[in-house]
Amino acid sequence: MRTGGAQENSSGSVIRCARQIPFTDMIEVQGLVKDYGSLRAVDGVSFKVNRGDILGFLGPNGAGKSTTMKVITGFLRPTAGTVLVGGHDVTADPVDVKRMIGYLPENAPAYPEMTVEEFLGFIAEARGFRSSAAKAERIERVAGLCHLTQVRRQTIETLSKGFKQRVGFAQALLHDPPVLVLDEPTDGLDPNQKHEVRDLIKKMSAEKATILSTHILEEVDAICTRIIIITRGKVVVDETPDELRARHGGARLDEIFRELTQTDT
């Protein structure tokens, strides 16, 4: 069962994020392997993310970035290897892991027939903020953070791509999680919005462990404290942007990226 082991734990009606967790390694991925049938999408990936880190996950399309993120969030089960989030094993107690993570899936899926407010209200309830006061306070906060106040009563299907993305972002931040997993958070946003989202991520990063995947190399430069480049399901680079550049004689990031990944596509 996807979430079997943690059923008893989920019976408590109040669900809070454990923000006082002492672990510095908020995310620990060890020898992660994920197969889709005969295709090996992720092949022995290992890394750690500390609190305060913003990890930039880079790689060509189909390299295994999204799959790795889906395993970390407990949506997919690993074929082999372990993933610990805040000390909880994602296979053994997925519900505890899910409580700690705010996840923005690729393309920010949401229920199109709901209004922004209804949707965030649903997420708030599912995240354990059942009283209308707590719910309203949570919605108020993220709607402000993500500049959604003007579209609160609009149904999600009528929103532009940029607003939809922000709704997804708001949904991920709603319970103020200690771990943020963002799959292409700035995808579809205009340059101003991109800038804003990056500022937001940076601002919140101090007490959170953040993983974000992206195609945009300047983004990595702008906000990430660490880079992981992954191709064909394997980690080929895991260092800070400066270290990476220093090692490659001060070349530009996109040149390094192409050099490391081009042979594979």
Partner: protein, 242 residues
């Protein structure tokens, strides 16, 4: 199980946030009442009962329940919201139950909205309310069994049309097994022994529903519907957990 209420609420209200609910309720009521009037000869029978209304329920459900059930999981898969749902702190069982119960509640609402028919027979004659009550109960339990099948098939595919067609087919077979024309064929033409024919027809919705329409509430029939739904939902959880 504490996570069921928010998921139930979202799913149930979801029907009313789109035209789905209204189109479904109107067409279902027109079809079911139409069957009672034009095929069941509701007035000609001159009996103050709803038997001519409920006798068509198993047949109508073949089309209408899959129409509600096909979207349960297919839509989540297609739109990618399943990723959102299963990264919330919910177990698969909670999600399956919440969605099933919401759709079932919606179907029960549709069935219950035929209450003017009951008022009509009460106005025209002196119906047996016990029989009417057991008919409604049976109808709702049967809807749950149909819905279990639809929820399961919906979990297999992200295509709602495939989910609908397969559900209709399975539900049709489940009705057919107990249809007198079919059982006569098995017993008369194929000369199968009657105990075998009985076993076959025992797997049918109609066999277990007929008692309720006559006012006989038999625990066996209720258990059949509930256990069929339960078994389908159990498989549903397994399918989603793969």
């Amino acid at each position: 199980m504490s996570q069921i209420p928010p998921l139930f609420k979202r799913e149930f209200l979801g029907y009313f946030r789109s035209p789905v609910a209204y189109v479904f309720l109107i067409v279902f009521l027109m079809a079911s009442v139409g069957c009672a009037f034009f095929l069941g000869r509701f007035f000609d029978s001159n009996i103050a009962s709803l038997e001519s209304y409920f006798q068509f329920s198993p047949w109508l459900f073949i089309l209408f329940v899959p129409a509600v059930g096909m979207r349960l999981w297919s839509e989540e898969k297609r739109s990618g919201t399943i990723e959102l749902l299963f990264t919330l702190p919910v177990t698969t069982l909670e999600a399956v139950l919440a969605k099933f119960l919401a759709a079932w509640a919606f179907l029960c609402l549709a069935v219950a909205l035929s209450f003017p028919m009951a008022l009509t027979v009460a106005y025209l004659g002196d119906p047996d309310w016990g029989v009417i009550g057991s008919s409604y109960l049976g109808c709702m339990l049967m809807a749950g069994a149909y819905l279990g099948i639809c929820s399961l098939t919906s979990a297999f595919t992200k295509n709602q049309v495939i989910s609908f067609v397969i559900s209709v087919f399975i539900c049709f077979v489940m009705v057919l097994l107990g249809w007198s024309v079919f059982t006569d064929f098995l017993g008369g033409y194929l000369t199968l022994p009657s105990w075998l024919v009985d076993i076959v027809s025992n797997f049918s919705f109609t066999t277990h529903f007929s008692g309720f329409v006559k006012g006989i509430v038999d625990a066996k029939d209720a258990v059949f519907f509930l256990s069929l739904a339960g078994f389908c939902l159990f498989l549903n959880v397994l399918v989603l957990d793969r």
